[in-house]
């Protein structure tokens, strides 16, 4: 999921011809003050923190200013903030428009219908979850037909826009649909879409690009959520990496099996820490890569739960034992491995002779992992006790 910051989203909007307020991205109070006034962003203006979390207005991350000095002051205040865990590094300085009304429009996917759905409401500027159902229009859009004129008329009606305002909305909806399809978006959202005189204007922009479509959108490659070095390695190796606050590392293959493993672990009093999902593969190379990545996260114990089937268990076990030798002696941890599939017995024998607890039953394996995590003096994987 590539979430674009507001200013990047607005760059996309601009390139498709959507109406926007005049604005400029700045990275220091000095730049902020220089961005306003004649030839630049008109005053009065609004200064907005470029963070991905919502609720900026209430959280003090949006301020107003009427003079270059006030702009500088506001910028100084916001740039120092840490907003919901995100450090503010960029600001968007934008003209403050005299609005008549705030509306909401977005396009996203309805999984059940297997159709894009256009969502519109005359109640913009607030969180859309807070708006009541009868004030929200949900319009499935067939991907082959696109957004039709009669559908756009339904949106205008729901938003109570007529005449030139309705025309202005038509353009916005057409462009929004184009962006949604051409940019492979999961979500394009304008909240609020402001009515200013005869026009509607996008005051905010939320654009989320689908990760799986990254191969045809290299332009978004540099927009990344902040990742730790371990997360970055996991991403390169196509291993799903999630950090929870417990101390037991979990390696499993496939999202469903990973979640089921966590469910059972928690049931028996274990606290999952880092968990790695290899995807549906039992490729021995990937199992060992995940193991070595896990070793760097310094878990108290690791539970590895792999359901193979194609690769033989003894091949996976041999790879794992080899990988264990690469972990420095002082960084070793207890390992409980459950590898199911072909040649199970041979796999278990290989692991047990290398000092790894290896069981077939899920409950027993989980209990062993929980016990190992709470007894740090237990036999360490790969090393003699």
């Amino acid at each position: 999921m590539v979430k674009l910051p507001e200013w990047r989203g607005k760059d996309v909007f601009r390139s498709y011809g959507l109406p926007l307020p005049k604005g400029r991205v700045v990275r220091s109070p000095k730049e902020a003050a220089a961005a306003v006034g004649p030839g630049g962003v008109p005053l009065p203006c609004v200064i907005k923190a470029q963070v991905l979390a919502g609720g900026r207005g209430k959280g003090g991350a949006v301020r107003f200013a009427s003079t270059p000095n006030e702009v500088k002051e506001a910028a100084t205040g916001i740039l120092g903030l840490e907003f919901k865990g995100e450090r503010v590094r960029e600001l968007l300085v934008e003209e403050k428009l005299a609005l008549n009304q705030e509306l909401y429009v977005s396009l996203t996917l309805d999984r059940s219908l297997r159709m894009p759905v256009l969502i519109a409401s005359p109640r913009g500027g607030v969180e859309i979850e807070a708006v009541e159902d009868h004030e929200i229009l949900r319009l499935p859009v067939h991907p082959f037909a696109g957004l039709t004129s009669y559908e756009k008329r339904a949106v205008s009606k729901a938003l109570h826009l007529t005449g030139p305002r309705g025309k202005s909305l038509d353009l916005v909806l057409d462009r929004l649909w184009e962006i949604f399809q051409k940019e492979d978006a999961e979500l394009v959202e304008i909240n609020p879409l402001a009515v200013v005189g005869d026009h509607v204007i996008a005051l905010d922009a939320k654009v989320i690009i689908e990760d799986d479509a990254a191969f045809r959108h290299p332009q978004y490659a540099e927009v990344r959520d902040d990742r730790t070095p371990l997360e970055e390695i996991a991403r390169e190796k196509e291993i799903a990496f999630v950090q929870l606050d417990g101390n037991i590392g979990v390696i499993a293959n496939g999202a469903g099996l990973t979640m089921a493993t966590l469910d059972v672990l928690q049931q028996f009093g274990g606290r999952p820490g880092v968990f790695l999902d290899l995807g549906g593969t039992d490729d021995p190379k990937k199992v060992t890569e995940a193991f070595l990545l896990m070793a760097r996260a310094k878990p108290a114990a690791v539970f590895l739960n792999i359901f193979g089937g194609v690769t033989r268990c003894d091949t996976v076990a041999t790879g794992l034992v080899e990988a264990m030798k690469q972990v420095p002696a002082n960084e070793r941890f207890p390992l409980v491995a459950r590898i199911r599939g072909n040649n199970e017995a041979e796999g278990i024998a290989i692991l047990q002779s290398a000092g790894v607890t290896s069981l077939r039953d899920l409950r027993e394996s989980v209990q062993a992992a929980v016990a190992a995590a709470s007894a740090p003096s237990a036999a360490l994987a790969g090393g003699s006790p």
Binding site: L109, D110, I119, H142, E189, I208, D212, L262, G309
Partner: protein
Amino acid sequence: MSVLVDAETRVLVQGITGHQGTVHTRQMRLFGTNVVAGTTPGKGGQTVEEVPVFDSVAEAVERTHANASVIFVPAPYAKDALLEAVDGGIRLSVVVTEHIPFHDMLTMYHYARAHGARIIGPNCPGIASPGKAKVGIIPNVVFHPGRVGVISRSGTLTYEIVNGIKEHGLGQSTCIGLGGDPVVGTSFVDALPLFEKDPETDLLVLVGEIGGTAEEDAAEHLKHHFTKPVVAYVAGRSAPPGKRMGHAGAIITRGKGTAESKLQALQGAGATVATFPYEIPDLVAKALKEHGRR
């Protein structure tokens, strides 16, 4: 016949010359599947695992009368492969490929639908009826012929559960892994009527995951249109609140999507709910007994 595939199914492997295509062609044949053809553009004339390779689906269908396909083509080309299958007259395609952009899948789904073709997947392990045919990648070792149907959104968790059923001395009629992507060709709701009318299925195991509303939709269907006993499990009850598609996504789901919501809905529809995967075989055996089917 069983659900969707049987001994008469003639399978075409799209992307047969790739590593996955070759490995699983071998596995499908070992399962007893009638694999009649493979395609890889530019590699027509070769053979892989004794299966003739063609340049196009049209040629493969003309020469071998293939009537189902399994797609191992990389994500950027998967859409094209599926459209080619549909245009070639294939009416059942299992898409194993993962990471297909959902916008591509929207096109694939609606195109197939308009032509009366069915997609299973993407990002799925496929379908298997033990003793008859397998179209996909579920390990052969987990199966034993029997009368329990399985539908699931997961991959390896499905293997785990199907294997548990076998180790309990029971067997499966048909097992379908639907895939866990945002847009799937066949959903629970689409698959349920197939099991309802399958005379070889006595009971259905439904395996769900948190996220989306597929399980809630399934529960609604079970309530009104399904008469066979159902044992259900939903993975992810301990998962922390995960990613979602912004606020707009929340509007569509409106409080659904959590493990509790799904379990409640399934229970309300009369399904027996397993808290953990290892409870499933016992619950299945018990339900079969209660229904006088064992």
